[in-house]
Symmetry: C2
Subunit: 276 residues, 2 copies
């Protein structure tokens, strides 16, 4: 871990390299979608959203995404990608922009987001429903290979997660019966999680439906929206994902992410296709 921790201090972390953009002028960038940010071959939708957020932050000159939505049109592949962005409105408090990620002739994702500046402090934060009850990280479960054949997906080498002890049973064929998945997350190399990384972190847990007996298969995201509320304090992030509704072959997945200060820093919702 030492080398990785050093990398974090120089800014050359694996995440920063994975979302690096090369401007090619006129609201366009080149990126290199990296291998290893996936659950089984297809680069994670949250990772793509972080790449695109970086482009639109650069374009708008606003430091933080406030609300950002991606629609996923085709599975991305590790390798070169082209990004484009367009400012739709630049106001005093907010700028709104759209963007797209292309690989070759295919649009992989289309984005729409509003950007601004978030606070680092928690003033004025109200948690109407409180935070879920989550044991401390040291009492939670790190994904590990199981005799039943479960192999932790590649992304967990980069985004370290610790699952609620009652939520990890899906990996050994013992789902707890509710579409719920809670735990902790941080970068394995110690890079602090900022608002650029929150979209990735909002999509880095196993789907909560794995805990209600759904087949452990890829759950393709159609659309992911992340609302950002605050710049995260350093340390582990608490994350809690639920699926309340499954209908007509679709499911949605709601997430709440809070920081070590106990403040909600982001909420996420995605619509995905239920594996058959």
């Amino acid at each position: 871990m030492t080398d990785k921790r050093i990398a974090a201090n120089t800014g050359a972390t694996e995440f920063d390299r994975a979302v690096a953009l090369q401007p090619v002028g006129d609201g366009r960038w080149r990126a290199e979608i990296q291998d290893g940010w996936d659950f089984g071959g297809t680069p994670n939708g949250g990772y793509l959203l972080s790449i695109a957020a970086g482009a639109l932050i650069a374009l708008t000159g606003r430091p933080d995404p406030i609300t950002i939505t991606a629609h996923y049109l085709a599975p991305a592949q590790p390798g070169p990608a082209e990004l484009e962005g367009e400012i739709l409105k630049s106001g005093r408090r907010h700028a709104t922009a759209r963007g797209a990620i292309r690989q070759g002739s295919r649009v992989v994702a289309q984005l729409l987001g509003t950007f601004g500046e978030l606070a680092e402090s928690a003033s004025g934060i109200c948690h109407e429903s409180g935070l879920p009850d989550l044991p401390p990280p040291e009492s939670c479960i790190a994904p590990a290979p199981t005799p039943g054949g479960f192999v932790p997906p590649p992304i967990t080498e980069r985004v370290e997660i610790r699952l609620h002890p009652a939520h990890a049973g899906f990996a050994i064929g013992q789902p707890h019966g509710r579409a719920e998945m809670g735990g902790w997350a941080r970068f394995a190399d110690g890079r602090p999680v900022d608002t650029l990384a929150l979209p990735l972190l909002a999509d880095s847990f196993p789907p909560p439906v794995f805990n209600c007996g759904i087949k452990l298969a890829w759950v393709p995201t159609i659309e992911l929206t992340v609302h950002l509320h605050k710049r995260p304090a350093p340390g582990w992030l608490g994350e809690w994902f639920t699926t309340d509704h499954i209908a007509g072959g679709y499911l949605e997945e709601d997430g709440v992410i809070w920081d070590a200060a106990g403040d909600v820093v982001a909420v996420s919702r995605q619509m995905a296709i239920l594996p058959r």
Copy 2:
């Protein structure tokens, strides 16, 4: 009510006129944003989303929005508007498109949505968390002028609502203390609610923060996303809105809408600016 009920049967309902589009070719339409679909002067964001959904349904040839997001860039005004749409991908199961609503030189709203075909039956619907406990419509409260000066907003003449008896106190200066607003809704003229109207219905309740002592002022929506799960059965729709997080001057508002068959037909989430 008789004339209005007849109108519903001929298709010439007030809502249908309010979302009518005149194609002007090449993915462009003219619309007339109507007065009376507002909470106090500014046409409702859900109403604009229904207008745009109609354009993108026409463009994609898919009958139902599956997930649709609008970012609101400037307050709309009653009067002429121009819509534009572009198909981003047209696949076997889904088509994804973006669009914009303009008035004069201003972009009022920018849209991104995925369209397809939803079921009319409830097969395969799972409600993990169940539905809120809502008394029947006849035991709920219709908005009415109060001695304290509350005047029901114009939209309630078109979208009839009945609020949970415990949630209506905000109108007489007695908010119940939780950011929660539940009740029933339907068109006043009896027009059935279809997936075109659901975006409007997802934004037709007073903000739940009115029930936790926030000033009764316009709560400007930055972004509204509606996920549609099923074509609604005829009758009253149950609706339940909550705000779990208020932070940094922003709030979010989550909605669940179910039909008379007890099936969740849509969920909504918006990010809005907290009134000062």
